[in-house]
Amino acid sequence: MEFAFTDEQQMIAETARAFFAEHATSERTRRAMAGEGIDLALWRAFCRELALSGIGIPESAEGAGLGLVELAIVAEAAGAQVAALPMLGSLALAGQAIAAGGSEAQRTQWVPPLIAGDRIAGYFHDDRMLASGGRLTGGSRFVAHGAIADLFVVTDMRQMWMVRADAPGVTVTAQTSMDQTRPFAHVMLENAPGEILPDPGAALGAAQRAAFIVVAAEALGGAQACLDRTVAYAKERIQFGRPIGSFQAYKHRLADMMIEIEQARSAVYWAACAVDEGAGEADMAVHAAKSFAADTFFRCAGDMIQLHGGIGFTWEHDAHLFFKRARSLQTMLGSGNWHREKIAAMILGEAA
């Protein structure tokens, strides 16, 4: 038992933080927001130069090894900059699903290009998808970074398929999305050819666990950034002849942010460790992490706007980037209430 980063994990954290802080600047992110919601050059640099994109996918499945703790470390660093990158859809969801549930041929064909950033994948589920003879009809209006995806991994929560974006019967329409750093697309499948993954249970399990943790870690990084930036502002902004951070009403709100964030940090790394170690409480941990960290982020982002006063409400200030990302993380992949209901059923001893 040693619930602290190892030296190697500390090094990954420092490398990832430095990379995103230097490159995922507000200016670049805003350029991406005005376009397709992705900083493609940054994504390629992350995948190719930093070589951290294969983390969390076993080497036997063409990944870089290591575990979800290391993946969470990277996602936390990206989240701190609200980076406009397809990490969640392409790697945590699609990449994990193919690596865990794909055939060897499917893994060899798709995992390396996803990790290298040569290909980008989107992911969605549609409970009412019609599947017959390898043809799929269905869709989703909430496919993150779907407009730039080359491949979709889709599920009806029982089976899972890969569908190429350029296949016949696939229509992709970009949506005007509140969070422009991770815009949604409307993907429609009309008798589109799908290639089935042979082990959908493994695929679904791996994708959900990794994605819940990545969402939570991103939220943690975002929440900490909201606090850090607000703390800096509290020290420099003077009103009534004193820094506004000297007022107790202000201080206490900052303290409340920190209290939540420290719990979110415990939640994220508990969940990542529990999954990596195959602990019995892993299922509860990922539901706890996703719901708690996303709520923490939203609260901190809202507080960031409030504690900055008028400037925090402007387009020019970055507060709204965090606020919109936070809102998106709260609802994505199950609301907080849905995750907590799962935990309620577990502790009340009801069959899932």
Binding site: M1, E2, F3, A4, F5, T6, Q9, V69, L227, V231, A234, K235, R242, P243, G245, S246, Q248, Y250, K251, H252, L254, A255, D256, M258, I259, I261, E262, Q263, R265, S266, A267, Y269, W270, A272, C273, A274, E277, A279, E281, M284, A285, A288, S291, F292, N337, R340, E341, I343, A344, I347, L348, G349
Partner: protein
């Protein structure tokens, strides 16, 4: 980063569980499940000595002083198994967790020899004399005075909220030894025997009807000149050092007590149908999440190797658990409904859950109120300007 325990640690867990379980099924079965701090005091003093006789009294201490040099993981395991076995809280908690480590860190060799064996053996029960009627949140404004006369300190004043003073043998007090000094300067940390004519203890009845806190009056109370820890005027530094020990491993045992409370609420919700209410279900899940995060926060805090840095988890821990438990008390009552507002006892005595509801109102006050905690977090954790001191 690793959460799992090693096979050796799991063996140690079994050893702890076997011994504690055996005691609670055997010789000490009469105190199993006692949750009130004031319950069965004499038997619980005997229990302290039983722990000591079998080497379980203070496993984290150096073996030279009666401990086992236990690793962090072993201390965590013992604290968890202790509470899991339904063993009541340690009546000498203050001696083992606060006085002992303070003497180990700041005491002279002679003081270690004088005090540590008795604490380790469960024969010297300690209580803590910090707060005063006019020094609550503003702890540094203590007025209890001590002056050196010949080879003795003479102490006059009043302490309050001295938990378990009525069953303790010794009290450590923060006193003002420099005439006219203010705030944290001029304070001295003294260890005093309680059984003397100059010390008078009166219980304070609390909102739950119980009386585990006391007022302690000092009227020309005495202790030998060499009873001070550190130097004259060093009291504030010692007191602050001591408070840091409070964030130690014992928090994990405390959490197991919380676990038992939450489990009782879950059982009540299942049996009375409250578990069908979606809002109650959300609150139960939130309570469960909060408890788990407390455990992992504590493990992070304990795993922190860089003690120079004030760790975020350590700074936020007090307000986190206190607020969680107060909410738990409210949840308990919402699950019980009006049944929670009547008692089967003839006296004003309450079962675990209604008692939790009442008692937990003190959790967010003692040991630093939530408001003081937020000041500390903002100032020490986030570098905000300090609160200005008034001059009234």
């Amino acid at each position: 980063m690793k959460l799992g325990f090693s096979p050796e640690d799991e063996l140690f867990r079994q050893e702890c569980a076997d011994w504690l379980g055996g005691q609670m099924a055997g010789e000490f079965r009469d105190i199993r499940g006692v949750t009130k701090l004031t319950g069965s005091p004499e038997r619980r003093k005997e229990w302290e000595q039983q722990l000591a006789a079998h080497g379980w009294s203070c496993i984290g201490w150096p073996s030279q002083w009666g401990g086992r040099d236990a690793t962090l993981a072993q201390q965590v395991i013992f604290a968890e198994e202790y509470a899991r076995a339904g063993v009541p809280g340690r009546v000498n908690h203050i001696g083992i967790e606060l006085a002992g480590p303070t003497i180990l860190t700041f005491g002279t060799r002679e003081q270690k020899q004088r005090f540590l064996p008795g604490i380790a053996a469960g024969k010297t029960i300690f209580c803590q004399g910090f707060s005063e009627p006019n020094a609550g949140s503003d702890l540094a404004s203590v007025r209890t005075k001590a002056r050196l006369e010949g080879d003795q300190w003479i102490v006059n004043g009043q302490k309050i909220w001295t938990s378990l003073a009525h069953i303790s043998d010794w009290i450590f007090v923060v006193t003002r030894t420099e005439e006219g000094s203010q705030g944290p300067r001029g304070l001295t940390f003294l260890m005093m025997p309680i059984d003397q004519p100059g010390i008078d203890i009166r219980g304070i009845r609390q909102i739950n009807g119980d009386a585990e806190f006391n007022e302690t009056f000092f009227t020309d109370a005495r202790c030998p000149a060499d009873s001070l820890i550190g130097a004259v005027g060093d009291g504030w530094r010692i007191a602050m050092g001591l408070l840091a020990f409070e964030r130690g491993v014992s928090t994990l045992g405390q959490q197991m007590g919380f676990r038992n409370e939450l489990d009782e609420i879950i059982a009540a919700a299942r049996s009375n149908g409250a578990a069908r209410d979606p809002l109650i279900r959300q609150r139960l899940a939130k309570a469960e999440i909060g408890l788990r995060l407390m455990r992992y926060g504590a493990l992070r805090m304990l795993s922190q190797t860089d003690h120079a840095r004030i760790d975020g988890a350590a700074l936020t821990y007090k307000i986190q658990w206190a607020s969680w438990r107060r909410n738990l008390g409210e949840l308990a009552m919402d699950v019980l409904g009006q049944e929670g507002e009547i008692s089967d006892h003839r006296d004003y005595e309450w079962d675990t859950l209604p008692n939790l509801f009442l008692f937990s109102r003190s959790d967010t006050i003692y040991g630093g109120t939530n408001q003081i905690q937020r000041n500390l977090i903002a100032e020490r954790g986030l570098g905000m300007p300090r609160e200005p001191r008034g001059s009234v």
